[in-house]
Structures are given as structure tokens and as C-alpha cells.
């Protein structure tokens, strides 16, 4: 099975999860996801997801100017994002449990 295909469906919740504790800029988020084990994640997909979550109102965004290099755009989670994250955590937990059971052959 292609893990990248699976990843697309859960990238939203993964991104929300890695910015939950600390704001991050684009590549920072990519790095956290990869460090968490999602090594196949494409950075353009992450940047696009960040923008979509921002447009959906789940993230705040601010630009930090840099004197030496180009400026960075940071994203942080807001109340709506936290609500969305909690909901998706439950959905994922249920879905994962169902899939685990199914694949383990325990389904009734």
C-alpha cells in the first residue's frame, strides 16, 4: 500500500497536531512531521495544507521578518483549530481501531 496516499487523508490532523504546542513556519512543520516518522511527506503538500487550514480559520498566521535572510511565515493554532483537532483525534481513533480490528481478523 502506498503510504503517501494514506497520508493525504490525514495530513490536516497531522499538521494541526504538530503546531498544537508550538507555532511553526513551513519547513519547521515539515521537519516536525518527518521527525515524527512521516518521512514521505512532501513539503509543498504541507505548505498547501497550512494555507488551507489557515483559510478554514483553524490557524493564525504571522510573518517574522529576518534581517539576514527572507522572512518566515509562522502558523499557530487557534480555538477553532483546537476544536477541529479534538474532533479529528476522535474520528481517527475510531477509524484506526476499526481498521486494526478489521485487519486483525477480529471483526464480527
Amino acid at each position: 500500500m502506498d503510504a503517501t496516499q494514506l497520508l493525504k487523508g490525514v495530513l490536516d490532523v497531522a499538521v494541526l497536531a504538530v503546531v498544537e504546542d508550538e507555532d511553526g513556519y513551513g519547513y519547521d512543520v515539515v521537519r516536525r512531521l518527518r521527525a515524527a516518522g512521516l518521512e514521505e511527506v512532501g513539503d509543498a503538500s504541507v505548505y498547501g495544507t497550512l494555507r488551507r487550514l489557515y483559510t478554514a480559520g483553524a490557524l493564525t498566521s504571522y510573518v517574522v521578518p529576518s534581517e539576514e535572510g527572507p522572512h518566515r511565515k509562522y502558523y499557530g493554532i487557534n480555538a477553532q483549530g483546537r476544536t477541529m483537532l479534538e474532533l479529528q483525534r476522535k474520528v481517527w481513533a475510531e477509524c484506526a481501531a476499526t481498521m486494526n480490528d478489521l485487519l486483525a481478523g477480529k471483526a464480527a
Binding site: 513551513g26 509543498a44 503538500s45 504541507v46 489557515y54 483559510t55 527572507p70
Partner: protein, 339 residues
């Protein structure tokens, strides 16, 4: 590792990504690509990715993940894409070369000048459409099309007043403007100068009934008279000149027509002929009523120069060319004006 340098490759790549997103609104493009250079620089610095990916595929991934519609370029598959590719490649080459990049930077500053220039060309092309009537016959109103074109052109150049399909129009318009630039500049120079225009008009007018603009030229200069010498080098008079078709070789009667006037010879038929050389030249002047009249007190030196010609005698001819050619019997042809 919070600061990383942005290499020209990254700048070019980011530029290409933005170009591939150009059909989105400026705000959406900014949202998607703000911080892109910093992210790429850091990503490259970490060596996680040694080469930059294809910018178009990268842009497609960006917009897909962002939930934005796929590129809406159904109408510009062929030429539009080829044009975009060409732009990308050109910009890659330019950015990679410091000299070209400096030139491009310099030219960038001149873009507003180009916006005005193309508006000016458009105004001229519109004028041409109306047959180059002076100011469209509107006097001071003639600058209105230029003003309108300039405002529209500048707004488009600044990325304002956008609408779907505008880019194609701008590209086509720019091509037309570049092609038309030279002809328009040439035309405007001869046409703008009112005096020259009027002079040309009058000359056209007089040639309409007088035929005076015709006549002999030598090295582009009109000839007002010819001085003829025989084989012995002696001055001749009353020499009639024709070309091979029997056309009388008349002098140019426009040469200095405010200074001199040629007096035609009278033929035995009673007709007047101007192709009889040397012609008698009369020096002219303007009288108190503004009429052109023979100069009552002509400069004697100039009168003598016209009457005597440049030489009293020229070197004689040892072997007249006519002698070398055996006489051929030509069917007799009756010359019309000078029998």
C-alpha cells in the same frame, strides 16, 4: 539554523512556482508562497533534498493540498504553455548569469516607461486606422486616446483592472507594439513636423498639375540645367536631349524655384521645349506684393555663372564613342514634341 541564504536557484525556483500559480489571485499566491524562499533555503541547507523539484509539479502539489482549483488553463494549452515555459527558461538563464541579471534588474526599472510607450504606439496605430488625419481632425482632443491608452496600459502593467484572458491580450499587444515601434517612430517623425508635412503636401499639389517635381536628378540632387560641349571641347547651345524612348530630358524645375526660373526654347512647331540645353536661367525674387518676379537687380556673378556654364572649354575628345560603333539603320521615328 534560522537563517539561510537564498541562492539564485532558489529565487528562480520560487519565481517559477509563482508563475505557475499566476492564474490565482495575488492574495492566494502570496498566501501560498510567502516564506517559500526561507523554507526552501532551509530545506536545501539540511541536505534533505539535494535538487529542487520541478516548479510546475511543486506548484500543482501546493494548490492541491491547499484545496485550490487546478490550473485553469484549458484555453492556453498550446501557445500559452509554450510561452510560460519559455519565460521560465529565460528567467532561469538570466538569473544564473550575473551580468544578465544586472541588465534585467536595470530594465525592470524601465517597465513603467514601456507601459507609456506602448500606449503611445497604440494611439498612433489608432490614428493610422483613421488615415493619419492630423489629430483625427479634433485638434487638442487628439491627445485623449493617448491619455486613455496610457492609463489603461499602466493599470494593466501594475496588475490592476484584471479580468480573465487579459494576460493573452497584453502579450499579443506587447508583440504588436514591439513590431510597430520602428514604423511608428519613423512615421511620427516625418508626420509630427508640420512644416515638412506641408512642404510635402504642396509639392504633391504642384506636381498634380504642373509636373514640375519631375525632371532630371544627379546623385539625388535636382538638376536645373545642363551645359553641353562638343567633341572639340567647345560649348554648344540648343542641344536637345532625349532618352531611348524619345522622352525629352527636361530639367528639374523645382530646383531652387524661388531663386531661378528656366525659360523654355521655342521649337519650329511653335511648341515650347525645356529639354534644350543650356537653358536660359532667370534669377527670381519676391516683390512687395509677395509675387515671384524676375530679380530686377540680379547678382551679376550668379547670372554669369548660369549663362556661361562651368567651363569655357573642356578637353577635346580623341576617340568619339560614336565613331567606334558602326552606324545602324534605325527605322525612322518621328519625335513628337521636337520634330
Amino acid at each position: 539554523m534560522n537563517t539561510s541564504t537564498v541562492t539564485p536557484e532558489i529565487a528562480t525556483f520560487a519565481q517559477s512556482v509563482r508563475a505557475a500559480l499566476a492564474d490565482l489571485s495575488a492574495e492566494e499566491v502570496d498566501d501560498l508562497t510567502e516564506g517559500l524562499e526561507a523554507d526552501l533555503a532551509e530545506s536545501l541547507a539540511e541536505d534533505l533534498r539535494r535538487t529542487l523539484p520541478d516548479p510546475v509539479a511543486y506548484a500543482a502539489e501546493l494548490r492541491l493540498a491547499a484545496g485550490l482549483p487546478g490550473r485553469t488553463d484549458a484555453g492556453k494549452r498550446g501557445i500559452g504553455n509554450a510561452w510560460d515555459d519559455l519565460r521560465r527558461q529565460t528567467s532561469g538563464v538570466v538569473q544564473g548569469n550575473p551580468t544578465l541579471a544586472a541588465v534585467a534588474d536595470f530594465l525592470e526599472v524601465l517597465r513603467p516607461a514601456w507601459w507609456v510607450l506602448r500606449a503611445w504606439i497604440a494611439a498612433w496605430l489608432l490614428a493610422a486606422l483613421f488615415g493619419m488625419q492630423v489629430g483625427y481632425g479634433l485638434g487638442a482632443l487628439s491627445s485623449i486616446p493617448l491619455l486613455v491608452f496610457a492609463v489603461v496600459s499602466i493599470q494593466w502593467g501594475r496588475g490592476r483592472w484584471q479580468f480573465p484572458g487579459l494576460r493573452g491580450i497584453v502579450v499579443a499587444g506587447n508583440v504588436i507594439a514591439v513590431v510597430a515601434l520602428l514604423p511608428v517612430v519613423t512615421a511620427s517623425q516625418s508626420w509630427d513636423d508640420g512644416s515638412e508635412y506641408n512642404a510635402g503636401f504642396e509639392s504633391g499639389l504642384s506636381s498634380g498639375y504642373g509636373g514640375e517635381s519631375e525632371g532630371l536628378f544627379f546623385n539625388g540632387q535636382p538638376l536645373e540645367n545642363i551645359y553641353v560641349y562638343d567633341a572639340a571641347g567647345q560649348k554648344l547651345s540648343g542641344v536637345q536631349l532625349f532618352d531611348v524612348q524619345g522622352r525629352p530630358l527636361v530639367p528639374n524645375r523645382e530646383a531652387d524655384d524661388t531663386q531661378i526660373q528656366q525659360t523654355p526654347a521655342t521649337l519650329e512647331t511653335g511648341a515650347e521645349a525645356f529639354n534644350v540645353y543650356p537653358l536660359q536661367i532667370t534669377r527670381m525674387t519676391w516683390d512687395d506684393y509677395g509675387d515671384l518676379v524676375p530679380d530686377p537687380n540680379p547678382d551679376p556673378g550668379k547670372v554669369a555663372a548660369y549663362a556661361d556654364g562651368p567651363f569655357i572649354k573642356v578637353p577635346a575628345v580623341l576617340t568619339p564613342p560614336a565613331a567606334a560603333i558602326p552606324p545602324v539603320s534605325v527605322p525612322e521615328k518621328v519625335a513628337k514634341p521636337n520634330d
